[in-house]
Amino acid sequence: MLEAANLTCERGGKILFQKLSLRVSKEDLLRIAGDNGSGKTSLLRILCGLAWPAHGEVRWKGEPIRRLGEEYSRSLVHIGHASGLKDELTAAENLAVTCTLAGIRASDPAIRDALGRFTIAPERQVRHLSQGQRRRAALARLALSGDVPLWLLDEPFAALDAAASALVEELVRAHAGRGGAVVYTTHQAAALRDTRVIEL
């Protein structure tokens, strides 16, 4: 489904990685590993289309993503370092807007349900949430993204407690089981077992 050919990434005059190629197919769990600063986030952003590589190309179902534009964006979920939540809105309002922007149709009960699974009170404004709670509120989106084929997650397990980590793992495995693909980065040694690994 997703194919990256000969990617070279340059940040601040330094070459982070070059001639990197990878392939992600259905039911694939791919982990991008590496130390801090090795380019994991940059690679993920290049795969999303948020950043452009110095050389090389990313293809979705054979077509370069540059040409696909929104068609590609609709087929992926990207959760990065930033929470993607507005402080002044409640968790429920944030999630509702996020789903609308992503083209996902989600009813009110479904949103509450998703937030409930991550034990986030839907009616609290995000500015009153702790760091970990914000992370969970941002990840709650995954519970509604079952139909989106590609998940690109940047450090999904960071700042999460055991219960939340387990929940994320469950969602990720379920998604792969349904035929989706998940690419995630982590520098923590503990990660999902039996995933393919790319070292940067």
């Binding site: 948020l50 929104e70 964006s73 990065g80 930033a82 809105l89 609308t100 922007l101």
Partner: protein, 222 residues
């Protein structure tokens, strides 16, 4: 596409309502600046009546500029801008929605309280309508053009002043025609021509600015 635009406008309005201080500060700035001119020039009624349209328009320009800086910066900081970039709708729709929300929060209130300021300048009451209408037609153009500047200067140091330098020359036609409409009316001539010109500028800006804003966002975020 419409759903996306509606969601973005709704979100920005909610944020503005819950952080009322931002909106209030911009309006307060408008009121303060218009109060400064008589203090600097003298309060001779005939003089004030003559400069009123220009002063109110220039102050509206500057107030509009104030809030432009945060238009995309806030979204950039908390990650929502990336969400919009990766959204299901074209970036142009997002850009138009952001500009519309900006206008509703800054430009529209300005047009509403402008007649109050005009009272301070002893502007003839029959000109209030033209004044408000000119601002109502002109401030959306300011939001649209300003958004291009805001997108270009996203994340740059010295952004606020740089933004002003980039955007103020482009504001000149709107200023001239908008203030000119009120001056024509005060001279007893029909302002319809100028108001129609403003409407035309608005249509052209609404058609082309979203494309430019989207291109600028992509350039700034690469």
């Amino acid at each position: 596409m419409l759903a996306t635009a509606r969601a973005i406008v709704y979100r920005d309005l909610l944020v503005a309502v819950r952080r009322r201080s931002d909106v209030a500060v911009a309006l307060l700035f408008f009121v303060i600046v218009t109060s400064l001119f008589p203090l600097g020039i003298g309060a001779e009624p005939n003089l004030l009546r003559a400069i009123a349209p220009g002063v109110i328009w220039v102050s509206a320009l500057l107030s509009s500029l104030l809030s432009l800086r945060r238009l995309f910066e806030a979204d950039h900081d908390d990650g929502t801008l990336e969400q919009m970039l990766l959204g299901a709708s074209p970036l142009g729709v997002v850009a138009a929605a952001k500009a519309l929300a900006h206008w509703m929060v800054t430009g529209m209130p300005l047009a509403v309280i402008a007649p109050l300021i005009a009272l301070q300048y002893d502007l003839a009451p029959q000109l209030f309508g033209v004044l408000a209408l000119s601002l109502l037609l002109g401030t959306p153009v300011l939001s649209l053009i300003g958004a291009i500047g805001a997108a270009l200067t996203l994340g740059l140091r010295g952004g606020g002043v740089l933004l002003s330098l980039l955007v103020l020359p482009l504001y000149v036609p709107v200023l001239i025609i908008g203030a000119g409409a009120v001056e024509m009316a005060s001279a007893g001539l029909a302002p319809a021509g100028q108001l129609l010109l403003l409407a035309a500028l608005l249509v052209v800006a609404a058609a082309f600015a979203p494309w430019a804003i989207a291109a600028a966002l992509r350039i700034s975020l690469e």
